[in-house]
């Protein structure tokens, strides 16, 4: 009963928030609606018993991703209205419908076949404990690879967004470094 009420309430909220995100012409409204939709999605994870995933959803998406988007928006000209593509409406609607039907087919294929068994069935411990046990035994290598990927992404983000990242102090001569520092001091004094 309560599960049904919660599901329909959060389904309505999530769909309306994401609808606002893809239709509004204000970038700030889109950002806010997206953040709200992310938080509402974490409610589904809590309903489904995936407590750890819900907490990660809030921390990573609403905390990190949205903050990064907010910082990124400071670089861009986001106050003006966003112009939209004047494409053929029938093509857009038709392709979206086709893709949605494809997704339904993909997800309903394993439901139709009944011979599915749980690969790593739950052992009855808490969700976070179970996640830790599976993540650090069966999925240890993908976990490490994901960690390396995040490190690479962090370095790439810093290098791309930072200033004067093409200069390297370790590859420069002492004279060049002194010249650069003098220019910097001149700029500060003037």
């Amino acid at each position: 009963m309560f599960e049904a009420i919660a599901f329909y309430l959060f389904a309505f909220l999530t769909i309306s928030m994401f609808y606002i995100t893809v239709t509004t012409s204000q970038a700030l409204h889109a950002l806010t609606a997206l953040a709200a939709g992310m938080i509402f999605i974490s409610a589904f994870f809590f309903i489904l018993g995936a407590d750890f995933l819900g907490a990660i959803q809030i921390i990573v998406y609403t905390g990190a991703v949205m903050a990064l988007y907010a910082f990124g928006m400071m670089f861009f000209d986001t106050t003006r209205d966003v112009k939209e593509k004047k494409g053929n409406k029938f093509i857009v609607v038709g392709m979206a419908t086709l893709a949605a039907i494809l997704v339904v087919a993909i997800f309903s294929a394993p439901i139709v076949s009944n011979n599915i068994v749980a690969l790593y069935p739950s052992v009855g411990a808490g969700n976070t404990q179970e996640v830790g046990m599976v993540l650090f035994t069966k999925y240890l290598i993908p976990f490490e690879v994901a960690a390396v990927m995040l490190l690479v992404a962090m370095v790439a983000g810093i290098v791309l967004a930072g200033k004067k990242m093409d200069l390297s102090l370790t590859l420069m001569d002492a004279d060049e470094i002194r010249k650069m520092n003098e220019e910097k001091n001149k700029k500060v004094l003037s």
């Binding site: 889109a30 991703v65 690969l119």
Partner: protein, 102 residues
């Protein structure tokens, strides 16, 4: 109606995926295009978590974790590239990125 099953979650996931897909197709601003891709990834995460719950298997949640990790790194690199492009051209509209036209 009152009993929430796996199909409810899959239908919800499909609706969100369709919304995100429509957003990807109609958006011209690259930042808002990124928002639409986040919606796509979140829709798939709901389906993963629901299947994980109804089959009593934690693999779905593991995939959801990796999807979140990929989304975060994709965002970091993509936003960096977007900032470089904006510094160079002063705009992040998709229609201006036609430098490879022959």
């Amino acid at each position: 109606m009152m009993e929430i099953g796996l199909n409810h979650y899959l239908v919800l996931s499909t609706i969100l995926f369709a919304i995100g897909l429509a957003g990807v197709m109609r958006r011209k601003n690259l930042l808002l295009l990124f928002f639409a891709t986040e919606i796509l990834l979140n829709a798939v995460n709901i389906a993963f978590a629901a299947i994980s719950h109804y089959y009593g298997d934690l693999t779905g949640q593991m995939f959801a974790f990796f999807v979140i990790a990929i989304a975060a790194s994709e965002l970091a690199v993509g936003l960096g590239l977007l900032i470089v492009w904006f510094k160079r051209n002063g705009t992040i509209d998709l229609d201006t990125m036609t430098s490879m036209r022959g």
